[in-house]
């Protein structure tokens, strides 16, 4: 597991804080994600997971305090679309697509504006990305709003791949999927990973999270309460109390 560039973090948070009035949604959070790993994030509802993705991407707001670095360079002062172009692509907890554009146009737009490709390159990249996620060819000219829930997940991943990201931030991608579809999703995540893209995954569906993550971090009330290998983290008593404890009934 130990690679030569393990000590050089790809994505680094330094004392990141985000306030909403009196509420501390992120409380002095510091951590780093290594190149080419799959980094999992979990925590109860309202613990600040989505807010973390929001401040990393600047969509729709930057951190109140702290620094965020991508490959050693600060990015937290860049305009949001520049952060995307710098190599951080995200998905949203609520499904997001360009509803009136076709699936192929959705992916193409990402290749052109995020991947900065020419029209010809972008068309190729779009088809390649759609092949990678195995979205059926006959579905690609459909408006994104006509796709099924799982097809939209495929589209979401394809549009991310086509943007040539260094890091992909996935916010609860398994929401709304059936069990076999969750398996399909973890295959998609491994597909992304095999392309050399670093993945940060927020997930409520624990089997998926534990299955794909190499390292895991738990947030509660905006602060990190545990991090390490999935096996270590799930044994941590504080985690059991804060996160698993509340969900005992469901597990």
């Amino acid at each position: 597991m130990v690679e030569p560039n393990d000590d050089k973090p790809l994505l680094e948070m330094r004392q990141v804080t985000r306030r909403f009035g009196a509420l501390l949604a992120l409380d002095n959070v510091s951590f780093s994600v290594r190149k080419s790993e799959i980094f999992g994030i979990a925590g109860p509802n309202g613990s600040g997971k989505s807010t973390l993705f929001n401040v990393i991407t600047g969509i729709p707001f930057p951190p109140s305090e702290g620094e965020i670095l991508l490959a050693g360079k600060p990015i937290h002062r860049l305009p949001p679309h520049q952060i995307s172009r710098a190599g951080i692509l995200r998905t949203f907890q609520k499904d997001a697509e360009f509803a009136t554009l076709s699936a192929r146009e959705n992916v193409y737009a990402s290749a052109v504006y995020c991947g900065r490709m020419t029209s010809t390159e972008a068309k190729e990249a779009a088809d390649q990305a759609l092949d990678d996620v195995s979205l059926k060819a006959e579905r690609r000219a459909k408006a994104a709003s006509d796709l099924s829930v799982f097809e939209r997940k495929q589209l979401m991943i394809a549009s991310a791949i086509a943007g040539r990201p260094k890091v992909l931030l996935l916010d609860e991608p398994a929401a709304g999927l059936t069990k076999p579809e969750v398996t399909g999703l973890s295959d998609l995540i491994f597909t992304v990973h095999r392309r050399g893209i670093t993945v940060v995954l927020i997930e409520h569906v624990l089997p998926l999270l534990l299955n794909v993550s190499e390292r895991l971090m738990i947030l509660n009330h905006g602060a990190i309460i545990a991090s390490g290998s999935p096996a270590e983290v799930v044994r941590n008593p504080e985690v059991v109390e804060a996160y698993l404890g509340k969900r005992e009934a469901r597990l």
């Binding site: 969509i59 009136t100 146009e105 995020c114 459909k142």
Partner: protein, 360 residues
């Protein structure tokens, strides 16, 4: 651009456009009456204004209520430079376009960061501001009396003022066709894709590297340019300008053209403008009915939007597809679903409706 076109649908579209182009060129041969020709010319001007409004309002989804004011900026910029500075009226028309774009860039500064009703407020306030400016500077603009004796265009050996408006007809028609070609090209380009993306989902668009503020600015500036040129032509043609162009009744008339025609199609607003101009101008020429026409146009708008909430343009692809379908099924005995023939861009309106009712 990316869309896979149903061959039949596309070819019937090409045919339709070809026929309309030729018809447009032949009109003056059959229509000799100078008042009727005048109606055509005015309808072409409104066609440009309505179609170019569709770029910012329909495609970019900006609630831009300053579009008619940009037209007015074109009117006065052209009128003033031609009359007071003695600039060649052809060039002055171009100045009208540039001035309207400049005005749009100023409006864009606050607007690109605002949303919904705030955009309406700012753009509307801007329109009022420009109107007040025109009225106050009466020694230049003629104030509420309007500006008169604006010099008109000329060509070597041709006098536009004779010939029962034949020359004006072709200039207006040429501007309309050029504008339509440019607008269609724009909305089908990568830029067009990016503004539709922003309209569909702003946060998602930014997360895919699309710069919101810049694309909105470009959409406003481009859309104003065409309407500014139309304004320039309007004043050069009529040779008078009046602050009436800024009136709310003008705004609502042209807005109803855009909505009846259906946004995000360019063609919809364009043809609705041609049609409604004839109706409203025709009605205006009836004695004592000058004001009633606005009521009738409003009524027409309500009726159309009741049956086609996305405007008439949303009905056309379905009708064309059905025709193509019937032909095909007669030939091969198999019927294809209407939807399969439609391209993504033809289906935009429909898809938008679907996305709102879509099940997750």
């Amino acid at each position: 651009m990316m869309a896979l076109h149903g061959g039949k649908l596309r070819s019937s579209k090409v045919w339709l456009i070809g026929v309309l182009l030729i018809a447009g060129l032949l009109v003056p041969i059959f229509v000799q009456d100078s008042y009727l020709r005048h109606l055509f010319i005015i309808s072409f001007v409104y066609g440009i204004v309505a179609a170019s409004w569709d770029l910012s309002l329909g495609y970019a989804g900006i609630f831009n209520f300053a579009h008619v004011a940009f037209f007015g900026v074109g009117v006065y910029a052209t009128g003033l430079t031609a009359k007071l500075l003695g600039i060649d009226p052809w060039a002055a028309m171009l100045i009208g376009g540039v001035a309207a774009s400049a005005a749009a860039a100023i409006v864009a500064l606050p607007v690109v960061r605002l949303q919904g009703v705030y955009v309406v407020l700012v753009t509307f306030a801007f329109s009022q501001l420009v109107m007040q400016l025109v009225i106050n500077q009466s020694n230049l603009t003629g104030g509420t009396q309007g500006m008169v004796r604006v010099p008109t265009i000329w060509l070597p050996g041709y006098n536009f003022l004779r010939d029962y408006k034949l020359g004006y007809y072709y200039v207006a028609f040429g501007l309309l066709v050029t504008t339509t070609v440019c607008l269609r090209w724009l909305v089908r380009s990568d830029f067009g894709l990016s503004i539709k993306a922003l309209r569909d989902n702003e946060d998602y668009a930014v997360s895919r590297g699309i710069p919101i503020a810049l694309q909105r600015l470009k959409a406003l500036v481009a859309s104003a340019f065409f309407t500014g040129i139309a304004g320039g032509f309007y004043v050069i043609y009529l040779r008078v300008a009046s602050p009436e162009v800024f009136d709310f009744s003008t705004v609502s008339l042209i807005l109803s053209m855009v909505l009846v025609g259906g946004t995000s199609s360019i063609y919809g607003p364009l043809f609705a403008a041609l049609f409604l101009t004839f109706i409203s101008e025709g009605l205006a020429s009836i004695n004592n009915f000058a004001e009633g026409r606005f009521m009738l146009v409003a009524l027409a708008m309500i009726v159309v939007l009741l049956f086609f909430p996305k405007g008439l343009a949303s009905a056309l692809p379905a009708i064309l597809a059905r025709n193509a379908n019937q032909k095909r099924s007669r030939q091969s005995g198999t019927a294809l679903a209407d939807r399969a023939l439609m391209t993504s861009s033809d289906k935009e309106n429909e898809a938008e409706a679907a996305s709102h009712s879509g099940v997750r």
